[in-house]
């Protein structure tokens, strides 16, 4: 085991730090938000040019190798820079899914388009009843003579408003979820596919996708059944960890916005930073940051080594922990800014809102904790039966 970044990983981190520091300013972000832009395609293309979309994708399917570790380094920088661009949800996640679909021409073309930035991909796997469990879905796919008809509603589809292509899960009509789970690759311009919703509370992209009798060709089905489930779970686990890294970036960003603020701001003739209550608060925030980053590493370790059930459990544990402490730490950034903290004119509040969105993606705490608990108890099975 080596817990230090390799030389190559360091280079990726440094380039991500440099790029985000130069490209992302709060002013530019505010402009995009005011104009209603969720994903700026020219920024998106710049991320593609940096090669970030192929990282974590094996060379044999057109990627640049590397692992989720590198994805987390990039995501952390983007989280800290408050990038609106959905790197985790529209690059890492669909790339993982597509790369795992073997021997499928459409998927291979798609992954090339994704990595080059030519096309933007969204993944539509969640529905109101899912709450993290991707097998709890109602969208149905019915066989027709020409292919498939898809009907249903997907929620929290990041990139759904701007995507060229959408990866969609559905249940084959008449079948129950794991066996009947189908994964489709759908052109966003398909007739019958519409969006509902505006964007997310942190101003990033996210909408409902509504499928009303969408007719898909037979080869739109990429995979199904247990294979689909295993492949999607692995991809969602990896993306979940990358999302947690974004949260780590947001926590760090909130800390870096707040420390100088309270050193500067005076009340009662002294700086706010002279109050011990606030010194301790910031010390606690710093402690949470250290632990959050370590929690991401615990999950990365599970991604690298653990069997699927344990892997998913540890990822869930990481997500539950990082979002809980992340919401707290970023909310304290607001608290220490006083009234200024609750305004759109100060950047600190955006970190908190980002955490609120991260909390919702891939299922919230009750789901994540229960998944972890189930696994933890399963480890004790022998002992429990002994009693």
């Amino acid at each position: 085991m080596e817990l230090q970044l390799s030389g190559e990983q360091k280079l990726i981190l440094e380039s991500a730090q440099r790029f985000t520091a130069e490209e992302y300013t709060f002013e530019k972000r505010r402009q995009s938000v005011a104009q209603g832009v969720t994903v700026n395609r020219s920024n998106w293309n710049k991320l593609a040019e940096l090669g970030w979309f192929g990282i974590g994708v094996p060379e044999e399917v057109g990627g640049f190798n590397g692992s989720t570790i590198e994805n987390t380094l990039i995501a952390e920088c983007l989280g800290k820079a408050q990038a609106l661009e959905p790197y985790t949800m529209c690059a890492v996640l669909p790339a993982r899914i597509l790369a795992a679909v073997l021997d499928n021409e459409a998927a291979q073309q798609a992954i090339a388009d994704l990595i080059s930035g030519e096309k933007l991909f969204a993944a539509a796997f969640s529905e109101p009843i899912s709450r993290g469990d991707m097998t709890a879905i109602k969208t149905t796919a019915s066989r027709t003579t020409e292919g498939w008809t898809l009907s249903g509603r997907k929620t929290l589809v990041v990139g759904g408003d701007v995507a060229d292509m959408v990866l969609v899960t559905a249940k084959a009509a008449g079948a129950a979820a794991p066996e009947g789970l189908c994964l489709f690759l759908v052109d966003a311009k398909t007739a019958g596919l519409t969006t509902d919703g505006d964007r997310l509370v942190d101003w990033t992209s996210g909408v409902d996708l509504v499928f009303e009798g969408c007719k898909l060709p037979a080869d739109a089905l990429l995979t199904s059944g247990e294979d689909a489930l295993a492949l999607l779970q692995a991809a969602l686990d990896a993306a979940s960890v990358v999302l947690c890294a974004e949260a780590v970036g947001a926590i760090e960003g909130a800390i870096e916005a707040t420390a100088p603020y309270i050193k500067e701001r005076k009340q009662y003739g002294v700086t706010l930073s002279s109050f011990q209550a606030l010194q301790h608060r910031m010390a606690d925030m710093a402690m949470e940051l250290v632990l959050a980053r370590s929690a991401v590493m615990v999950a990365l370790q599970a991604l690298a080594n653990a069997e699927p059930i344990e892997r998913s459990a540890k990822v869930a544990g990481c997500k539950a922990f990082v979002t809980r402490i992340g919401k707290w730490a970023t909310s304290q950034g607001i608290q220490l800014h006083g009234g200024y903290g609750v305004t759109e004119e100060y950047r600190v509040g955006q970190f908190y809102k980002r955490l609120l969105v991260i909390d919702a993606l891939f299922g919230r705490q009750e789901f994540q904790l229960e998944r972890y608990t189930d696994w933890m108890l399963s480890q004790l099975e022998g002992r429990l039966h002994g009693n």
């Binding site: 009843i129 929290l156 509370v201 009340q267």
Partner: protein, 402 residues
């Protein structure tokens, strides 16, 4: 101590419920329950309905239109209104400046201003905080200089809640710069349409514009609109801030409404095939919060029943309730957003504020808009009314003399 239910209180509760059922318009109640803040029209319209019944200024003395209720009855009234979704009335008028006027104002001021507040004709907004005078309010710098029968006011206020709705503004100004900062402050009442006043809304994190900056550029305020004596404004302010904390600090009725809403919605919402409320970790967290809400509610009841004593925190209890009540409200609204699942992350424009959007339909369940706004808004509750850190300083000082 005994816990026999009080039948008079129970009858009163029934009476309030019957009134709300008959008089609270259902569209208004839907907006009140949504989580978005009440806006001017609803606040004043509801105030008018209450005034007709003689219930609009629950804690005012009878001679100014109060209904002669006991503290317990007022609490029951607030709670029932909240649970029914009644709009929040103009607290700046009824809760804050009204009592200052009837306690310290001149007979002319009482006659001129109190009826408008009581009957829901004027909307009052509070101009205390300034960019560099927040927690340290006494450091305020907006100046008022005598010129004949007027003061000329110059300066800036910030965080004026509902600033854009204001008809009248009560504000603190510096009238003496040569003395200790608390000793040079006066309390003025200002018609916001006076030339030289500019209101600039501030966008807050949830997307709405309920806060404002107010700029004063050579604004003339008649000396007759000063409360009490010149340079005694700080005394009136302490009185007002005490009321703010005591009456609005814990917001126990709001806590109960959150619980009610979480239970209701999480029974409807499905996690897979089962109701969300059946999820063990979810239910356990909710149970913990319900237990704490009951303790806060009992603390408020103890204060109402026998005032302050050394078993309920004494004079520190206002700060105790403010800090713990707001923090619990933050946890409860967080859970409320969780109930909405994926839709808890969606942005919904403030349809209370933007009447033109009211007929539009939005993605997700009908109840989803407003939940996130309320959660984000609740972040401010541990900042306004005296930041919770300041409340803890007060508790430490009052209880231990630190």
């Amino acid at each position: 101590m005994n816990f026999e239910p009080d039948s008079a209180d129970q009858r009163f509760r029934e009476e309030v419920r019957a009134f709300l059922k008959a008089e609270l318009p259902s569209d208004m109640a839907a907006r009140g329950r949504s989580g978005f803040l009440s806006e001017r029209d609803d606040a004043l319209a509801w105030q008018k309905i209450l005034a007709k019944k003689g219930w609009s200024v629950a804690h005012w003395p009878v001679e100014y239109g109060g209904p002669r209720w006991t503290a317990r009855q007022r609490y029951i009234f607030d709670e029932e209104c909240y649970l029914a979704g009644a709009p929040v009335t103009n607290i700046g008028g009824i809760g804050l400046v009204g009592p200052v006027i009837y306690t310290f104002g001149s007979p002319e001021q009482k006659e001129r201003f109190l009826p408008g507040i009581r009957d829901g004709n004027t909307f009052w907004v509070q101009g205390f905080s300034e960019p560099s005078a927040g927690s340290d309010l006494a450091a305020l710098r907006t100046s008022a200089v005598r010129d004949g029968d007027d003061y000329i006011v110059n300066g800036q206020k910030i965080w004026t809640s509902h600033g854009k709705f204001g008809d009248w503004n009560f504000l603190l100004v510096r009238t003496d710069t040569t003395v200790k900062k608390q000793a040079g402050i006066s309390f003025l009442l200002l018609d916001i349409k006076t030339p030289g006043v500019t209101v600039r809304p501030i966008q807050s994190l949830e997307g709405s514009h309920h806060l404002a900056e107010v700029f004063y550029d050579n604004v003339r305020v008649p000396v007759a609109n000063r409360i009490g004596e010149e340079n005694k404004g700080w005394d009136y302010t302490k009185f007002l801030l005490f009321n703010e904390r005591a009456f609005y600090g814990a917001e126990a009725p709001a806590l109960k409404r959150y619980l009610q809403k979480i239970k209701h919605l999480s029974s409807l919402e499905r996690a897979g095939s089962e109701p969300l409320i059946r999820r063990p970790t979810f239910a356990t967290r909710l149970a913990e919060m319900e237990i704490e809400v009951a303790a806060i509610d009992m603390t408020v009841s103890r204060v109402i029943a026998h005032g302050l004593d050394d078993r309920n925190g004494g004079a520190a209890v206002g700060s105790i309730l403010k800090a713990r009540g707001t923090e619990l409200a933050q946890r409860l609204t967080d859970m409320l957003v969780e109930v909405a699942g994926d839709y808890g992350a969606y942005y919904y424009p403030d349809t209370n504020d933007e009447a033109s959007l009211r007929n539009q339909s939005f993605a997700g369940p009908e109840y989803a808009p407003g939940l996130m706004a309320e959660l984000v808004y609740r972040r401010a509750a541990s900042i306004y009314g005296g930041a919770n850190e300041v409340q803890r300083n007060i508790v430490a000082k009052m209880l231990f003399g630190f």
